[in-house]
């Protein structure tokens, strides 16, 4: 990656870092600030209501999940616990000023998080997402919940979400998806011009920058990356990172993979990434389009049922399309559904002779914890490299 591309990335990082101050300023002017949790909450609706969205997706530190233990079973996902843990520790500059938190409820961990938000009197709206996604009843349910959310946002902001406004926000976010897709596809090159550590962060920054600031910079970045200069050696082993989520700030594992001589060229992560391959249609019934894309078209998350055979097919396709040498499964402690899925994926990878490494984290990245983690990742990358050569 060239210097200019690095500068653009750093500029976006800087904008994202100052998001809390900027939200505070806007709130002072009367703009509503809406937090949201999960990939099933359409950002399009939030923008169309005139609210400023704020994705709650932090991770990577052990103290915030632990702060929740007096109120919740400790065998729950550290990621979900972290979303309120920072607030409980007084470390969250944004959550206290949110006018509403839209919390997706697709599994037990998310729903218990919503319980906690309500228990602590944070303004919460739950977006129910039925996991039995192939039934018309469930599709209708999600669609109705979106309609309910639309009304809730209109009441909060005092703005009617007209078709015009919704179309505009959808088109803007589609542009963002488009440019991220183009950057993503550049990673098919060997060596890729951008690795997973940077691409994941880029996704994260995209949630915390205003679209008008973001889009031109992403265009610039794409142009730079397209020139083909790569920070990785020609024979770098190509890896897929799969699992639930790399939270904002939880960068130890992707960075470690790339510091160990590998490169992440594709991801299958259910949360924290823009599902950029799917655009929302901007003609016809716009609300129905949102429902269709968000619920039915995109890669089903692990919690959906049935999902795992389809997800295995998707991984197989990624392996082919991105010429992947090995898969690293990144899972957070006590996420029981991902734990089951990891066994299935290990079996599938064994069948197609692709090396597979399962990593599990409770966000404990002390020196003592990172040592063994480093050894495992380095050994895996080395074995993949030898296999490749």
């Amino acid at each position: 990656m060239g210097v200019k591309a690095l500068d653009t990335l750093e500029e976006l990082a800087q904008i994202a870092r100052t998001r809390p101050e900027r939200l505070k300023e806007e709130k002072g002017k009367g703009v509503k600030v809406v937090g949201y949790i999960g990939r099933f909450v359409p950002e399009e609706l939030l923008y169309a209501s005139g609210a400023l969205p704020y994705l709650m997706c932090r991770g990577g530190e052990p103290e915030p999940p632990d702060a929740v233990i007096p109120y919740m079973l400790r065998f729950m996902s550290p990621y979900d616990r972290a979303q309120i843990g920072y607030y409980l520790l007084g470390m969250d500059p944004v959550v206290p000023m949110l006018d509403l938190i839209v919390a997706q409820c697709s599994d037990c961990h998310e729903s218990r998080l919503a319980d906690m938000l309500e228990y602590f009197k944070l303004p919460t709206a739950r977006l129910g997402v039925p996991p039995d996604w192939q039934k018309s009843l469930s599709r209708e349910y999600y669609q109705k919940r979106l309609a309910w959310l639309k009304e809730k946002l209109e009441a909060l902001t005092g703005n009617k979400i007209t078709d015009e406004r919704l179309k505009k926000s959808t088109e803007s976010i589609n542009k963002l998806r488009d440019i991220l897709s183009r950057i993503y596809l550049l990673r098919k090159q060997q060596p890729p011009p951008i690795g997973g550590y940077d691409f994941i962060r880029l996704n994260h920054y995209s949630f915390y920058c205003r679209l008008e600031e973001l889009l031109p910079r992403l265009d610039e970045l794409y142009a730079e990356l397209k020139k083909g200069q790569s920070p990785f050696p020609q024979d770098v082993p190509r890896l897929l990172l799969a699992g639930h989520v790399v939270g904002v700030g939880d960068y130890v594992v992707p960075k470690l993979i790339e510091d160990s001589g590998g490169v992440v060229v594709a991801e299958l992560l259910d949360e924290g990434m823009r599902q950029h391959s799917w655009k929302v249609k901007t003609d016809g019934d716009l609300m129905a389009n949102l429902g269709e894309t968000y619920y039915s078209e995109r890669t089903p998350p692990s919690i959906f049922q049935p999902a795992w055979e389809k997800r295995a097919d998707i991984i197989r396709k990624l392996i082919r399309d991105f010429n992947i040498d090995g898969v690293i499964w990144y899972q957070l402690s006590f996420e029981e559904i991902y734990d089951l899925e990891s066994s299935l994926m290990a079996k599938v990878m064994d069948e197609i002779k692709i090396p597979f490494l399962k990593l599990e984290s409770s966000y404990e990245y002390s020196r003592e914890a990172v040592g063994p983690l480093t050894t495992r990742v380095e050994s895996f990358v080395e074995s993949v490299r030898q296999r490749r050569s």
Binding site: H109, D115, D132, L344
Partner: protein, 470 residues
């Protein structure tokens, strides 16, 4: 004549002499299939069952016998299947009406079971021998370290070990946890492509305190989900349940529930007339279908009510009069020493909150439509709803049965039912002012939480309660 421990076991579990001749060969075969040795049967007969169950009562012996008969029957499921009987499974918790409606429509053509419940209750509760099943699952894709549920592991292991056949349909309900239905998806992909499932789910998206059975849209959605699942199950097995059958089952179920409420009131008498573990298995009848039918269970319940009434009249108790009495969220005979440890320390835990009815649950349904009635009933149940509404119902039960406090926990494997307990502990204590405790543990699988590990916690709770009551 040499002792036959298998005969003694059947006698202890309430089998009549004339039944023993019929059941003995079946029981030998079943125990062998389950991996139970003669020594295991001896342990159950001489130590485990007498230690934890009031086997001096005929009703309790017959209750144990119902579980033995059902377990024997379960081990014959493959033979049923070979004879063309349709195999229908489900998972806990689910509304039983639909499973019984299938069974009662075609008793000879349908086999219904929630297999993991019986295996877990009987193998661990009676023999303390569930571990080989759990280990079988753990070595084959359901790792030990993630605190997966013992029931799900048991179901998977039972299939792996050929204890049970593939179902014609496994109608699975993910109304509570995610892991149970996803385990069935796992079994199908990882081990048994014939493990055919139909899934019915309901998102947990109601705000704290919402009275969910009064949210018309939610009741209707749930009713439609139940109807959809039931129609699918009927299609899969080619049996059409006539109209009216569900209502017939509902009244059967409500009759049984009313008797259980009578037993609950008796068990909360002072002094406590019966140990918690002894009575607890009766409540499985509300949540688990018996392929062998409800009649035996109901007969055992009638006898037990009569016997316990006599104890109450005689002021006979397992604890001294005035002993502190705690409501426990849920105690299971699978790990019977937990309840016993409370009782040995002078504190009663006669009833499990999850299983006893609130006043509203005992009211007739507001709907004639059986699906709407079933959905409404489900959403009146404290364990099935948001913690705010659940806490309200728990407070009512504490008042109804005059408890001195409550214990939550022992559900650390359950990301839904167990995950709210710390929050509920606070909510119930705030509302009632009663002492409310939390114990981390697992009431299905006691490999991680031994008596030694929990003793200090239980003893300290008991001491606090005795000091408060003094």
């Amino acid at each position: 004549m040499a002792r036959d421990i298998y005969v003694e076991f059947l006698r202890l579990t309430g089998f009549e002499e004339e039944e023993i001749a019929e059941y003995l060969p079946q029981w030998r075969k079943a125990s062998e299939k389950l991996g139970l040795t003669e020594e295991d049967v001896r342990f159950a007969t001489e130590e485990r069952l007498p230690a934890y169950f009031a086997v001096e009562l005929e009703g309790i012996r017959k209750l144990l016998g119902c579980f033995v008969k059902e377990t024997i029957d379960l081990t014959q499921a493959s033979e049923y299947k070979e004879r063309g009987v349709k195999i229908v499974y489900g998972i806990l918790p689910a509304v039983l009406h639909f499973y019984y409606a299938l069974k009662l429509t075609a008793p000879e053509k349908v086999f219904v079971s929630f297999p993991d419940i019986f295996l877990t209750m009987v193998l661990n509760g009676f023999f303390h021998k569930l571990a080989p099943y759990l280990e079988e699952a753990e070595k084959a894709g359901i790792p030990y370290g993630c605190r997966h549920c013992a029931l799900n592991k048991a179901r998977y292991a039972a299939r792996r070990l050929n204890i049970i056949p593939s179902p014609d349909v496994n109608w699975i309900w993910g109304f509570i946890c995610d892991e149970a239905p996803k385990t069935d998806e796992f079994i199908r992909i990882y081990h048994d492509p014939e493990w055919k499932t139909y899934i019915t789910r309901l998102p947990h998206d109601q705000s704290l305190g919402t009275v969910e059975d009064e949210v018309a849209e939610r009741v209707e959605y749930l009713a439609n989900q139940m109807k959809d699942g039931f129609e699918s199950a009927q299609r899969e097995i080619g049996i059409k349940v006539p109209e009216g059958k569900i209502s017939e089952v509902i009244s059967m179920w409500q009759g049984y529930a009313a008797k259980l409420s009578e037993l609950a009131l008796l068990m909360s008498a002072d002094p406590q007339p019966l140990g918690a573990i002894s009575g607890r298995l009766f409540w499985e009848g509300l949540f688990t279908p018996f392929n062998t039918g409800m009649e035996n269970l109901e007969e055992a319940l009638d006898i037990t009510i009569r016997e316990v009434k006599q104890r109450v009249a005689n002021k006979e108790g397992i604890l001294p009069p005035g002993a502190p009495k705690l409501l426990i969220y849920s105690v299971h005979p699978t790990v019977p020493w937990i309840a016993k440890m409370f009782e040995e320390n002078g504190v009663g835990i006669p009833l499990s909150e999850f299983f006893i009815m609130s006043k509203k649950q005992l009211q007739p349904p507001s709907f004639e439509d059986p699906y709407m009635a079933a959905a409404e009933g489900w959403l009146r149940t404290s364990g099935m709803v948001n913690p705010g509404y659940q806490a309200e119902q728990i407070c009512e039960k504490l008042e109804t049965h005059k408890f001195d406090g409550m214990v939550f926990g022992l559900m650390d494997f359950d990301r839904w039912l167990g995950s709210s307990h710390r929050l509920l502990t606070r909510m119930v204590e705030e509302k009632t002012g009663l002492p409310v405790f939390y114990i981390e543990g697992d009431n299905w699988d006691d490999r991680d939480y031994s008596p030694e590990a929990l003793r200090t916690r239980i003893e300290s709770i008991c001491e606090i309660m005795k000091i408060r009551k003094a």
